[in-house]
């Protein structure tokens, strides 16, 4: 009887102990929120090392891109405790800083000797600082990203196509360096029969619902001379947003859409672009760099068949590309800020960053991207570096959402629906953006 009692007591104690341990472990688990995409899978893999080192478990909340902003901005606005760490889009930084969603990291960086000088400057400005160009840090640059292009190297190297192209345009068929060249190549491939299949010139961003067409059109606009505001007088947009150069840039983007995209590509963004390229529909493909590792590995279009180039130059030689990517922040409503900061410290480590790049993430740490072996580490590494050197970002103001919605509407109305002129669209955009800033009391 005694032994049975002892056994029962022992088992009960063991059960209590295991429950307690698991509760402690659960209490220490961190939840990281991000978009559901390839780099997120790489981060899950990478984070196993963090758990091994610290004993802190990691949970992940990944949401598809189409709902990413809605879902997590709602979470932040409602002061939810779901996310301890969040990899928020670069444009959220202003609103998240001003509304107190993110923990300011300056003191933590000072204490842990994490220097923003160790990161690619554009990513620090784009992902971490608010106000921009001021030493106020709300995130650690986590995932460098930028719009660039892929092309079908195997098609470009076909002798008969090279010959025909040279005869028609007078220069060798190769990755374009200017937008004029890009359009000529796209026209050349449009509706061409290759390997018994009709192919098209280029896949570009035209999506209406979230941010697609803005992220695409801006790549043309920047390089044609578009500016968000008067550099000497903030928020003065008339004559900059709707300058003659901007008008030409938007006209060019529409011309590219009209002449050289696959049929029905009127609502195309990252996923549709990847599909078009992977299925062998297009000769060139505009997309964020995060798609490149997946395409490189693709059996049908990857390997030696794919090439990469940075967003081309405009008519005056200006060359810019739309910044993507995100920084990682600690959510101010989290009860586990200490543990979350431990994760940031661990993530900033050079070895972790090197592994991050090797797993398919895009590191922003200078020590990784300026390593002599970096350009040769992946076929797209050099293009990524070239592209990160020419980035520009959309407004990162607290009101970025209405600013983005206005550009989505104006650009889609003109480029896809063909309503009005480029000048009308950009004049309308100045009007919309002015209203937003007036509402905010900034004008």
């Amino acid at each position: 009887m005694k032994s049975t009692l002892k056994l029962t007591l022992g088992l009960t104690s063991a059960m209590f102990a295991s429950t307690a341990v698991s509760n402690v472990a659960q209490a220490e688990d961190l939840t990281l929120c991000w978009a559901a995409w390839d780099p997120a899978n790489a981060l899950v893999e990478l984070s196993k090392d963090f758990t091994k080192e610290t004993g802190i478990g990691m949970k992940f909340e990944f949401v598809p891109w189409t709902n990413y902003a809605d879902r997590f901005l709602n979470e932040l606005n409602s002061k939810g405790k779901l996310c301890d760490l969040i990899i928020g889009d670069s444009q959220w930084i202003g609103g998240s800083a001003e509304n107190g969603h993110y923990v300011k990291l300056n003191d933590f960086f000072d204490k842990e000797k994490i220097s923003m000088d160790d990161f690619v400057p554009a990513t620090v400005v784009g992902y971490s600082e608010w106000p921009k160009n001021s030493p106020n840090y709300w995130a650690l640059p986590a995932m460098g990203d930028v719009v660039g292009w892929t092309y079908r190297k195997d098609w470009f190297s076909k002798p008969e196509l090279q010959k025909e192209f040279k005869e028609k345009y007078g220069w060798d068929l190769a990755a374009p360096t200017t937008f004029d060249q890009l359009k000529q190549i796209a026209e050349f491939f449009q509706k061409r029969e290759i390997d018994g299949k009709t192919v098209y010139g280029a896949s570009i961003y035209t999506e209406r619902g979230s941010e697609g067409i803005t992220m695409g059109a801006m790549d043309g606009l920047y390089s044609f001379g578009f500016k968000y505001e008067n550099p000497d007088k903030p928020y003065e947009m008339d004559g900059f947003v709707n300058s003659e150069k901007s008008v030409r840039g938007l006209e060019f983007y529409k011309a590219l859409y009209d002449c050289c995209t696959p049929p029905g590509a009127s609502n195309s963004y990252m996923g549709e672009g990847v599909d078009a390229f992977k299925s062998g529909q297009v000769a060139m493909h505009m997309n964020f760099a995060f798609t490149w590792p997946g395409l490189q590995k693709d059996e049908n279009v990857g390997g030696d068949k794919i090439g990469y180039f940075a967003n081309p130059k405009g008519p005056d030689g200006d060359q810019f590309a739309q910044l993507g990517g995100q920084g990682i922040s600690v959510v101010s409503y989290s009860d586990k800020q200490e543990a979350a900061l431990k994760y940031i410290k661990w993530f900033a480590n050079k070895d972790v960053q090197a592994k991050w790049w090797s797993l398919g993430g895009f590191s922003c740490l200078n020590a990784v991207v300026k390593d002599p072996g970096f350009p040769a580490s992946q076929p797209y590494a050099q293009t990524f570096l070239d592209s990160m050197a020419i980035v520009k970002d959309f407004w990162a103001e607290p009101s970025y959402a209405p600013l983005l919605q206005a550009s989505q509407k104006r650009f889609h109305d003109y480029v896809v629906a063909g309503q009005g002129s480029a000048k009308d669209a950009l004049d309308g955009l100045v009007k919309d953006w002015t209203e937003v800033f007036q509402d905010d009391g900034k004008m």
Binding site: A69, D70, L73, N74, N77, K79, G95, E98, N99, G100, E207, R208, G209, P262, P263, G264, A265, S266, N267, Q281, P398, A401, P402, L404, Q405, K409, H412, D413, Y414, V416, A417, G418, Q419, D439
Partner: protein
């Protein structure tokens, strides 16, 4: 067989019988049930309940439902009315909320984009209702002929309305796809126009019709079902009398079928009108409001303002305007419907 003998013999069926039977057996049963409930009720509760009037007891029973309705319907409505007079933005929790009076309403009513969205909505509502009523009534009329296999065809016709709008939106998007879509292929086969040129969702002129087609495909069966109920409710003897009077089929249709089925048709139009006025899911899945803003119906505009631009006060005002418009129009319509029924 009389209705009284239809049941299984269980005592509850007796409540459907004649009044004298109710007084005899029914009351005995009620008393027994009441006694057993009283015995099962704990004494303190029973004491409390005994002091409550019938009306009080009724309120006690319905109060959870009333409270739920107040919490999830009435309170949000009043809250939205309050917000519509403010500059509140849900993404700026720390900002001071100011009363802006009628500014949001003035801005909406003077906004050209809002009027374009309302026109788009009106176009969508008008054409879908027209087509669904015409096709739905015709199908109901054919099904009502009770031809061989009519039950099978009724089931087949009803399938689209049983599908989820999300599923319908997604597979029609593939059907409309100009390179691989069956719809484009079929049109190309008939007209000779290359399928790649049939951009149902990307062409400004075709996109609004693409949504009308899908909505008509999905909801015509619903209209048909209501019309069928109307047609089946017309007593046979009226037609027999018309036959005696040697009224032609055409005359019977215009003088008997249509007038007697009209309240049902009007009911179907009311239901579909209200549904389509707030149509969101299918448009969002098919076109997202594009190309440009060609198919941006009012509900899409509302969603963009509320959850993408985060203009909560402004979008609340827009929601109130839409609510008043639908509520007002529906009320006028119901009055007309009642008049038709009284004829």
């Amino acid at each position: 067989m009389s209705r009284a003998t239809l049941g299984t013999g269980h005592s509850s069926d007796k409540f459907h019988c004649r009044d004298d039977q109710v007084t005899e057996a029914g009351l005995t049963m009620l008393n027994r049930t009441a006694d057993s409930v009283a015995r099962a009720t704990p004494e303190p509760l029973a004491r409390k309940v005994r002091g409550i009037s019938d009306k009080g007891l009724a309120w006690l029973f319905i109060s959870p439902t009333i409270l739920l309705l107040l919490a999830i319907n009435i309170f949000p409505l009043f809250w939205a009315i309050y917000l519509s007079f403010t500059n509140y933005r849900a993404n700026r929790p720390n900002e001071v909320v100011r009363n802006v009076g009628l500014a949001n309403y003035k801005r909406i009513l003077g906004d050209q984009d809002i009027w374009i969205a309302m026109q788009t909505t009106a176009h969508f509502v008008f054409w879908t209702i027209l087509l669904q009523t015409l096709i739905g009534f015709t199908l109901a009329w054919l099904i009502d002929r009770k031809f061989r296999g009519h039950a099978f065809w009724t089931t087949i016709i009803l399938v689209p309305m049983m599908l989820s709008p999300a599923v319908v939106g997604n597979f029609w998007r593939f059907l409309y796809e100009p390179q691989i879509g069956l719809f484009a292929y079929a049109i190309s086969f008939v007209t000779g126009i290359p399928a790649t040129q049939i951009g149902m969702l990307s062409n400004v002129s075709l996109a609004p019709w693409s949504i009308v087609i899908v909505d008509t495909w999905m909801w015509t069966p619903y209209v048909m079902l209501i019309c069928l109920a109307g047609l089946r409710s017309i007593p046979e003897y009226i037609y027999e009398a018309a036959e005696v009077d040697r009224a032609s089929n055409w005359r019977q249709f215009w003088s008997i079928t249509l007038p007697m089925a009209l309240p049902f048709i009007m009911l179907a139009v009311l239901f579909r009108g209200i549904e389509n006025f707030k149509m969101f899911d299918m448009v969002n899945l098919l076109t997202g409001g594009g190309p440009g803003s060609t198919t941006e119906v009012a509900s899409i505009t509302l969603k963009r303002q509320a959850f993408e631009s985060w203009r909560t006060g402004y979008s609340s005002a827009f929601a109130i305007i839409l609510f008043v418009a639908v509520f007002g129009l529906a009320n006028i319509y119901v009055k007309a419907l009642n008049k038709v029924k009284q004829r």
